[in-house]
């Protein structure tokens, strides 16, 4: 039995933040869930994916976040309790339906998770998605620990149904990926089917209808305000004259700081667990009981700005500070020491931080960036493209493991914007320059948002080469399936969508399917694309070795070794491929047999044929 199905109210178990969210949804009787995976949200849908085999829960990995939002929206409009999860930049993709859902509202509770990534642990930006609550007019909740991640998620479904609006829950990486004790409550039964009640004057958003719906959304404000004023996780703690306001993970830093500094009796803390709309009356009460305010919030000064507006409306002139105090900045995540320092400075306490050992005299240590795995087919593909197109071509890349190909020695990425952008930016580059253009995109990313760019390229006669790197899975985020995946090894019955047929169906005339570990043949195909006067697509297909290992499909198991009698030390292998299974032993290239997957890429490029399979 899946551990999240444990029927033991009152029992405390140890859960990852993302598991706690999934459990909270189950305790609310969620029966429908959709997502597109993305760090740091991915472990939430992973739970649903597994749970859907043991329960009546409907779950799907949708092709992208917009699709996930729309599939989820219709389930919620039909009356089911629905959860949709994505990372912060995924909300950009889903923003179109999200904005309109605030107008139509929902019938079944709909909870949307936006997992933000301050400090950009695995993202291309650190946008603050609290703005989406302001932009859409939807309520936003922000838990502070694993217990609240579960409890607030469960409450969010009730809130959504009462307000007839989707509810946003915002987390940050530090919350998604903490583990802590969670006291369980009862699991609610699921309602897995309902009947959609037609209501065109609320659901068909032609201008005449939407004018009314916008009005209705604003009229809901009183009820939302009543909820936020009385929300159990919006509270004032203490009654000292120094005010501190905090949300999300920062609330812990603030509370620990106050306790470490021994100033609990001098401080009042306002915790904001329902952060949009702000509980105005509670804020006013707070502002009246303190003499100063320090706002502890990561990223944008949103609470700070809104609090200043509330103070101004009420004729309060006390000092409200946040960004710029000590090291509190708009950049990156906060940490406990930083917040302790800021609180000490704000209250005027002479505080000395622990003395960090001096590391300034350490020698330059060799870097350890993440890299393409041993046996990764992307390494082969990138190498082969480089042999034909050289360093002069423009290489727009995309979001996935292959982005790591930007590192030396491959250096095969010149621009990365967002999911799917490699294809569309190639359209522009091919018109705006006389350079050759080669776009790289992964299989999952191609389905996510590469197809529209490809249709655009066909229709507008753009001339470039698109390389679709099909490794049979969504590798970067932890091997989730996508529409092109053969789901049988995972025991599922999804229909596999053929990338070749799709590409041809879009109207591409020059299509090559290659196996990247057959170097000579692949380079021939790449050369043909180079010479083709038009749009070419190369589908480069071999399994992600980590994924293949997981599903028992990793076939090449005989590792390779370097025969030192033959090796003349050109080092083409190590210098051009930088496979992590290779290392220099004294001055000789050597291969770690435990790491080598036997892909034979290095063996095919060695000028002396000195790399050979290990004899059994």
């Amino acid at each position: 039995m899946h551990k999240l199905l444990l029927d033991a109210p009152g029992k405390e178990i140890f859960l990852l933040g993302n598991e706690a969210i999934a459990r909270g949804a189950l305790e609310a009787g969620v029966s429908f869930a959709t997502c597109y995976p993305g760090t740091p949200s991915s472990e939430i849908p992973e739970q649903f994916y597994n749970l859907s085999q043991e329960t009546d829960l409907y779950f799907e990995y949708s092709t992208n976040e917009k699709v996930a939002m729309e599939v989820g929206a219709s389930a919620a409009l039909a009356g089911l309790r629905t959860m949709v999860t994505m990372k912060h930049v995924g909300v950009n993709v889903a923003a179109d339906p999200l904005m309109i859902l605030a107008y139509t509202g929902v019938k079944g509770g709909m909870v949307i998770i936006t997992a933000d990534d301050p400090s950009l642990f695995s993202s291309q930006n650190e946008q603050d998605n609290r703005y989406y609550a302001r932009l859409s007019g939807l309520p936003m909740l922000e838990p502070t620990n694993t217990q609240e991640m579960k409890d607030m998620t469960a409450l969010a479904f009730d809130l959504s149904e009462e307000l007839k609006l989707p509810v946003l829950i915002r987390t940050t990486t530090r919350l998604n990926h903490i583990r802590g004790p969670v006291k369980l409550a009862e699991l609610k039964p699921m309602k897995t089917k309902d009947t959609f009640a037609k209501d065109p004057l609320n659901f068909v958003t032609v201008p005449a209808v939407s004018r009314q719906l916008h009005k209705k959304l604003l009229e809901k404000n009183d009820r939302i305000m009543q909820k936020t004023e009385n929300w159990p996780y919006n509270e004032i703690i203490g009654d000292g004259k120094w005010g501190v306001i905090a949300n999300g993970v920062s609330f812990n830093y603030a509370m620990d700081a106050i306790s470490d500094l021994g100033i609990n009796d001098q401080v009042s803390v306002l915790k904001l667990g329902f952060s949009w709309p702000m509980p105005k009356n509670l804020c006013i009460r707070f502002l009246n009981q303190v003499e100063n305010v320090l706002v502890v919030e990561e990223l944008e000064p949103i609470i700070e700005t809104e609090l200043k507006a509330i103070a101004q409306e009420n004729g309060l002139t006390l000092s409200i500070k946040g960004k710029g105090v000590s090291r509190l900045s708009r950049l990156f995540e906060y940490d406990p020491g930083m917040v302790r320092e800021a609180v000490a400075k704000y209250v005027g306490i002479d505080y000395k931080a622990p003395v960090v050992v001096d590391t300034s005299d350490l020698p330059d240590l060799p870097a350890r960036p993440p890299t393409l795995c041993a046996g990764c087919p992307h390494r082969a593909t990138l190498y082969e493209i480089k042999q034909v197109y050289g360093q002069e071509a423009i290489y727009p890349s995309d979001i996935g493991c292959y982005t790591l190909g930007f590192l030396p020695p491959l250096k095969m990425a010149d621009l990365v914007l967002c999911m799917g952008a490699s294809v569309s930016t190639s359209c522009g580059f091919s018109e705006a320059t006389n350079q050759k253009v080669v776009a790289f995109i992964g299989d999952s990313t191609f389905f996510h948002s590469g197809i529209t760019g490809l249709v655009n390229a066909v229709h507008n006669n753009h001339k470039f080469t698109l390389v679709i790197m099909d490794n049979g899975t969504t590798a970067m985020t932890g091997h989730q399936p996508h529409p092109g995946v053969d789901s049988k090894p995972m025991g599922r019955e999804n229909t596999q969508v053929s990338i070749e047929e799709l590409v041809k169906g879009c109207g591409v005339k020059d299509v090559h399917v290659v196996q990247p570990f057959k170097v000579k043949k692949t380079i021939e195909a790449v050369r043909a694309s180079y010479e083709y006067d038009g749009l070419s697509v190369i589908i480069s297909r071999d399994f992600c070795p980590l994924f293949a290992k997981g599903i028992g499909e990793l076939k090449r198991t005989r590792p390779f070794y370097v025969n030192l009698d033959k090796c003349k030390g050109h080092r083409v292998c190590i210098d051009e491929l930088a496979c992590p299974a290779m290392f220099l032993d004294e001055n000789n290239v050597s291969i770690d047999e435990n790491m080598c997957t036997g892909c034979a890429l290095c063996a095919q490029i060695c000028p002396e044929n000195a790399i050979l399979p290990v004899k059994k």
């Binding site: 405390e12 140890f14 760090t39 740091p40 472990e43 642990f121 695995s122 620990n145 694993t146 990486t173 530090r174 990926h177 903490i178 583990r179 802590g180 004790p181 993970v249 812990n252 830093y253 509370m255 620990d256 306790s259 940490d335 406990p336 020491g337 930083m338 931080a353 622990p354 003395v355 960090v356 050992v357 001096d358 590391t359 350490l362 020698p363 330059d364 240590l365 060799p366 870097a367 350890r368 960036p369 993440p370 890299t371 393409l372 795995c373 493991c401 790591l404 030396p408 020695p409 980590l546 190590i574 210098d575 930088a578 496979c579 992590p580 290779m582 290392f583 220099l584």
Partner: protein, 197 residues
């Protein structure tokens, strides 16, 4: 109870996330307040993997620079790189068997001699337990049990208010049965080194 902060640092594949989770579960089993934090994402692609375990009267899930009570390094270069987490009183427990990054093999930088790495660590902090975790793991019958060696060393150092029995109970219930014997043996070997220092 007084707060205790542990930072685990390793390289993708060394299993430090499993160990920090096990320590957290063991703490919960003996009613010690606990929060664990992990950085996922790049773990399988050879990057640095950091996790933290905070016990006692503390709710923040991460450890600021200079604030670790114990730094447990699974790889000597990474222990050195993570010394910013320490103050001079921090206990450093480090494996001494190196795992050079691929940047070294392609000639971007040199892996410093391990002796020099250890000397540097000794000049920065007063308490160091250095052990050849990979050798001990092999002795236990499974080179992948390095993480259990390191966990054993941590418990053996007495820096954690959790007994070896409670920790082993958690290992028994929460790790794969096929590896249990070598895991427990690796744990004991690590514990022995730390206890006899």
């Amino acid at each position: 109870m007084e707060s205790k902060r542990f930072v685990f640092i390793g390289v993708g594949g060394q299993g430090n996330l499993l160990v920090s989770r096990l320590l957290g579960e063991a703490a919960l089993s003996v009613d010690i307040p606990v929060v664990v934090s992990e950085i996922h994402g790049m773990a399988q692609r050879g990057g640095i993997v950091e996790s933290a375990v905070l016990l006692g009267d503390v709710t923040s899930p991460i450890v600021s620079n200079g604030e670790a009570d114990v730094l447990i390094g699974f790889e000597p270069l990474e222990t050195l790189r993570a010394l910013g987490k320490c103050n001079k009183d921090t206990l450093v427990i480090t494996n001494i068997s190196p795992l050079p990054p691929f940047t070294v093999s392609i000639g971007q930088g040199k892996y410093p001699p391990v002796d020099e790495v250890l000397d540097k660590i000794h000049t920065k902090v007063e308490n160091v337990i250095a052990l050849n975790g990979v050798e001990l793991a092999k002795e236990a019958g499974n080179p992948l049990s390095l993480n259990m060696v390191m966990l054993g060393a941590l418990i053996g150092s007495k820096a954690v208010p959790i007994t070896a029995e409670a920790m082993k109970e958690t290992i028994s219930t929460s790790t794969k049965k096929a590896f249990l014997e070598s895991n427990l043996k690796a744990f004991d070997l690590g514990m022995g080194v730390a206890a006899n220092r």
